[in-house]
């Protein structure tokens, strides 16, 4: 459903992405594994419209969204949960979720999406009036994903959602992501936690110095000795 072809991007003189191509289908969970500075975050920012692509194309459901501003990309059905969560810390949970439903595409399904989000994260239901800044890291991540889901996306982009979460919260988070995928959304997940993310991923890509250096089905990658050595910490 989303097709990224030969995308390059740079931060100043440093080339962060060099001809990256990948795709994510409907109801598919795809994980991108790579070391710090490999270009994972830049890739998500290019797709989300926060960093311009120098070359290449991003096509969402047949629409070229490469040069669109970030707010228009949301209307095209792509929701990004950036690193550092992208939430409104000084506002309440309710306001954060309401803001997620700001795009025109999200208005009609607002009530349904709110039910979906509160079903996935029952804890938020009791905390609707709480200021997000005062919540725990795990709860803030719930708000962040909830806000993104409220935009009624077809593709969800997540940048290191497990960062700073306890192991239990982390496991819970990945189970919820699998449920979101099963509901029909495409998910593109950038993760350091290779073990957990490969467990739920349908496919995965390996990224190194801004290039895709490998890809495969989740189970195949998990069994690959090179992946085990580089990403899963096996000797």
């Amino acid at each position: 459903m989303i097709e990224i072809s030969s995308v390059s991007a740079s931060y100043g003189k440093h080339q962060a992405l060099d001809g990256v191509s990948l795709n994510v289908g409907r109801g598919e969970l795809v994980v991108i594994l790579g070391a710090n500075g490999a270009g994972k975050t830049t890739l998500l920012k290019v797709i989300g419209g926060l960093v311009p692509a120098l070359s290449g194309r991003v096509v969402m459901a047949g629409n070229d969204i490469t040069a669109m501003p970030a707010h228009a990309i949301v209307e095209a059905g792509v929701a990004l949960v950036p690193e550092g969560r992208g939430i409104f810390g000084e506002m309440t949970v309710r306001e954060n979720l309401l803001l997620g439903a700001f795009p025109a595409r999200a208005r009609a399904g607002e009530a349904r999406n709110l039910d979906l989000v509160l079903g996935l994260f029952p804890r938020l239901k009791e905390r609707l009036a709480q200021t997000v800044r005062t919540m725990s890291g795990g709860e803030q991540q719930m708000v962040a994903i909830g806000r993104a889901l409220m935009t009624s996306p077809d593709i969800l982009l997540l940048d290191e959602p497990s960062l700073g979460l306890s192991p239990i919260m982390c496991k819970e988070l990945f189970q919820i992501l699998a449920r979101i995928r099963d509901a029909g959304l495409g998910i593109l997940l950038v993760e350091q936690n290779a073990k957990q993310s490969l467990k739920i991923a349908d496919r995965g890509y390996l990224i190194e110095s801004g290039r895709i250096v490998g890809e495969g089905a989740g189970a195949a990658l998990k069994a690959d000795p090179a992946v085990q050595r580089d990403y899963l910490g096996a000797g």
């Binding site: 419209g49 926060l50 970030a70 929701a79 409104f88 506002m91 700001f102």
Partner: protein, 292 residues
């Protein structure tokens, strides 16, 4: 006792004006991220507009609001789109935009002030509208001051409700909180910023009309209002509407008290003393949270 009440009432009126004016600056600085040094010039321009309408065409200031406020909105929208948008586009970060907008609007200040000096001259101006005393609890207050305070309350209250109870208003506040997350929520920051800047201009236009009903002003007094609005915004905490209200009222009452009890010449000194105390004691504002 009467003196105290007198100070309190006059202070409330003045403070209400400051709070309203600060609310507009909050929109421009908090949401559109423009530190607008020409802010007070729009207040004085609106005051001259009200003066001209009243003395030249017998249009009451209340009716004048209906003309001047939309005009101030349109002018500020144009200013943002034509002059400030290029600065926003080329700024690599918030600090750079702050420096550029301060320099840019400093220039605009002198352009507007120069035009007003040529058209209206440099002398102090005032007009007499509803300057009849109203008796309240044993003291008196001019009817025009009461009217100005009522209008400030209504305008401020409506703005508060729009910003907190509507989806678009919530989106505007969201830009002040986290502009990146706002874009990722589908909010078009560029057009929303233009609207917030224009709305801030409309507020200061309304403030100018209201202030002109009971204060004397000249083409050169804009900068005083810019400074007071800035002080109230910083004292209340940038982006904090309740903070601006309390800080505005506090400043109005303190100024009035010093003018009546000590010496009118000391009001500006008191303003800055309060400001310094707030900066030293609570640098993020009376209601701001401690800096991270």
């Amino acid at each position: 006792m009467t003196l105290l009440l007198d100070i309190l009432l006059s202070g409330l009126v003045l403070g209400g004006m400051y709070a309203l004016i600060a609310l507009g600056l909050t929109l421009q600085y908090g949401i559109a991220r423009i530190m607008n040094l020409s802010y007070g010039e729009f207040l004085i321009a609106a005051a001259f507009g009200a003066l001209f309408l009243y003395t030249g065409m017998a249009v009451s200031p209340v009716l004048g609001l209906l003309l001047i406020v939309p005009a101030a909105f349109a002018l500020n929208w144009l200013l943002y789109r034509v002059v400030l948008t290029p600065l926003v586009k080329r700024a690599k970060n918030q600090g750079m935009l702050e420096v550029d907008s301060i320099l840019g609007t400093f220039g605009i200040l002198f352009v507007i002030q120069g035009v007003m000096l040529v058209v209206f001259g440099g002398s102090l101006q005032s007009y007499s509208y509803l300057s009849v005393p109203v008796y309240i609890l044993g003291t008196t207050l001019a009817a025009n001051r009461i009217l100005a305070l009522l209008f400030a309350l209504v305008i401020g209250g409506v703005l508060y409700l729009l910003l907190t109870r509507t989806r678009y208003g919530t989106a505007l506040r969201a830009i002040a909180v986290n502009p990146v997350a706002a874009q990722l929520s589908g909010i078009d920051i560029a057009s929303a910023s233009a609207l917030a800047f224009a709305a801030g201009g409309a507020i200061v236009g309304a403030g100018g009309v209201l202030v002109s009903m009971f204060l004397t002003f000249s083409a050169a007094s804009g900068v005083v209002f810019t400074m007071k609005a800035l002080i109230v915004v910083i004292m209340g905490g940038v982006g904090n509407m309740m903070g601006a209200l309390v800080a505005g009222l506090l400043l109005g009452i303190a100024e009035t008290a010093v003018a009546r009890l000590v010496d009118p010449g000391l009001t500006i000194a008191v303003t800055y003393a309060l400001f310094l105390a707030a900066l030293l004691w609570r640098p993020t504002g009376l209601f701001g949270r401690p800096a991270r």
